[in-house]
């Protein structure tokens, strides 16, 4: 696959503070990428840069093998190849069809072709009934779908979506994500979307990019909890996370003297304690299964320990003793799955 974007030492600063700092990133064409990270991680900033609505404070962005030139004339050419769907999209005043045809009209597409494309796009997002509807009278989910149709109408090479599943109900969320998938397969449109939810991202994307504090990281922001140091026991420290998670951690994992911690449990390293084993020892917890889903050939389990703990089971382990929703399950969190970040 050819490289679509290349970011080299790209940094974006606001009032002297770096909100994004990427030393190197290559994004392939025709793929679906998901951008995962907590609030303030720099996801929207990165999407603004990739959509050429903003320019880096320093560094170089190459698009289609050519360094992006931010002078007005050249910028319009590259900007017209990419479209960004906002987290809270806004529709122009007027009927839905006028919104969807906007990008085509400013490109000088003929009226008849515009109409055909508008109908096709509204059909794609399941909003054909709303062709003549007043755009400002649509619900949040409908607005998002019309905004998606408006973005797709111009047949972009790249579709960037900022939290496409946010602020919409489950039904609209699934519709939007399935459209993204379809568009990628049918039109070979490259898609980059941001999300808070690792599972949502991984289920759809070919690649996952994780951002934290403006930096690309390979640590999934999953099972991240606030924790407070309760007491020290020899070379170990007892930390209270929300709910029943009273974790014993080796002292060397902690920042010296820290009382408030950001604790992470790696979902890949959580061990299952089978029924006939006696649940004993440190960091053993029992909870009810609240979520079971398939995730790239593995089974993702959500366990309710007053807070949700997610982890993976291999398909083989799952088939041996399949858990059920509401059933009890005991897990062991070995030291290898515990990580401790800087204080919150």
């Amino acid at each position: 696959m050819p490289t679509l974007y290349e970011l080299i030492n790209v940094r974006r600063e606001f009032k002297g503070r770096a909100v994004l700092d990427i030393s190197e990133l290559a994004i392939e064409a025709g793929r679906i990428y998901t951008l995962i990270g907590p609030n303030g991680a720099g996801k929207t900033t990165l999407l603004n840069l990739l959509s050429f609505l903003d320019q880096p404070s320093c560094g170089e962005i190459r698009f289609g093998g050519t360094a992006v030139d931010y002078s007005a004339g050249s910028l319009l050419t590259v900007r017209r190849r990419v479209v960004l769907l906002d987290q809270y999209p806004i529709l122009f005043t007027g009927p839905v069809w006028k919104n969807v045809e906007y990008g085509l009209k400013i490109r000088g597409v003929k009226k008849e072709e515009r109409h055909n494309r508008v109908v096709k796009m509204l059909d794609l997002v399941g909003m054909q009934r709303f062709l003549e509807a007043d755009a400002h009278k649509l619900s949040g989910g409908e607005t998002k779908r019309v905004a998606l149709a408006r973005a797709l109408a111009i047949q972009p090479e790249v579709l960037l979506c900022d939290e496409p599943g946010a602020n919409v109900d489950k039904e609209n969320q699934e519709i939007i994500l399935s459209i993204l998938n379809r568009v990628n397969k049918a039109e070979n449109t490259s898609i980059i979307f941001s999300t808070h939810y690792l599972s949502q991202g991984r289920s759809l994307a070919d690649h996952t990019l994780m951002l934290e504090h403006g930096l690309l990281t390979d640590v999934a922001p999953e099972n991240v909890y606030r924790a407070v140091v309760v007491r020290r026991e020899g070379d170990r420290v007892l930390c209270q996370a929300p709910g029943r998670l009273l974790l014993s951690m080796p002292e060397h994992l902690l920042v010296a003297g820290a009382k408030n911690l950001k604790l992470q449990v790696d979902p890949e390293d959580v061990a299952i304690v089978s029924g006939n084993e006696q649940p004993s020892g440190r960091n053993v917890f029992t909870g009810h299964v609240v979520q079971i889903s398939q995730d790239r050939g593995r089974i993702r389990i959500g366990l309710d320990l007053e807070i949700q703990l997610n982890f993976f089971l291999s398909m083989q382990d799952y088939l041996k003793n399949p858990p059920v929703i509401g059933g009890k399950m005991t897990v062991h969190l070995p030291d290898s799955c515990l990580r401790c970040g800087s204080s919150w």
């Binding site: 959509s51 319009l76 017209r80 973005a151």
Partner: protein
């Protein structure tokens, strides 16, 4: 009290008798005010858009100056323009003094700051996502500006109406630059001032009533557009 009721009665009769002198005065007022408003809008709306959307050094100073100009007395503008277009002035050779053109020049100076300020206010209220959306859909700067103006159209209409209301009711500029020439530069406000000086209240009251009706219509329109602007932002 008797004077007022008698004048009011006679004024209503005068209005419904379709007195040509009265209606000529009304026509001149409407024509001069409409042209002033049109010209001021041509300058004021783009200027307002530019100031609202661009960052440039001295922007705060420009906004302060605009707000100051809103309070500029009409006689000061009359005096300033007079100094340029009187026979001894730089543009004296154009023979503009005591013409409708002179009144229009003065009135444009009066309301350009008003149109600009209200346009800035209208544009600033528009959600910034409109700009971002237009740009990501491939709009040029001009096409993006058209989207913003379209979304702010009710606020901009309100600015135009407020400006028209300001000029149709002003008297200083019309008197000093127009000269209150009968059938030519006599407007409703200058005619009312003259009739008052003469002690003839009937025509003054009739014109006053007409002006009130116009002011009422303008205010109704203004509130309609203002209301639409607020409703749109909810």
């Amino acid at each position: 009290m008797g004077l007022l009721t008698d004048s009011l009665q006679s004024a209503i009769l005068l209005l419904f008798s379709w007195d040509p002198e009265l209606w000529l005065i009304v026509w001149v007022s409407l024509k001069v005010s409409a042209l002033s408003t049109l010209i001021a809008s041509i300058f004021g709306i783009p200027a307002g858009f530019f100031i609202a959307y661009r960052r440039f050094p001295g922007k705060r100073l420009v906004l302060t100056c605009l707000n100051t100009l809103l309070a500029l007395p009409t006689v000061v503008i009359g005096l300033l323009v007079y100094s340029f277009i009187s026979r001894r002035g730089v543009f004296g050779f154009l023979g503009l003094l005591y013409t409708q053109e002179a009144m229009i020049i003065g009135q444009v100076i009066l309301i350009v700051p008003l149109v600009t300020s209200l346009t800035i206010a209208a544009i600033s209220r528009i959600d910034t996502r409109y700009r971002k959306t237009a740009l990501t859909l491939g709009a040029t700067d001009l096409q993006m500006a058209m989207v913003i103006v379209r979304e702010a159209r009710f606020g901009i209409c309100a600015a135009i109406i407020a400006a028209f209301g300001r000029v149709i009711a002003e008297v200083g500029i019309s008197m000093m630059l127009g000269g209150n020439a009968k059938g030519f530069t006599r407007t409703m406000t200058t005619a009312m001032a003259l009739e008052y000086d003469k002690g003839e209240f009937v025509l003054a009251v009739a014109l006053g009533l007409t002006l009130l009706v116009i002011a009422f219509i303008l205010n109704t329109l203004f509130h309609f557009f203002q209301g639409r602007t607020h409703a749109d932002t909810v």
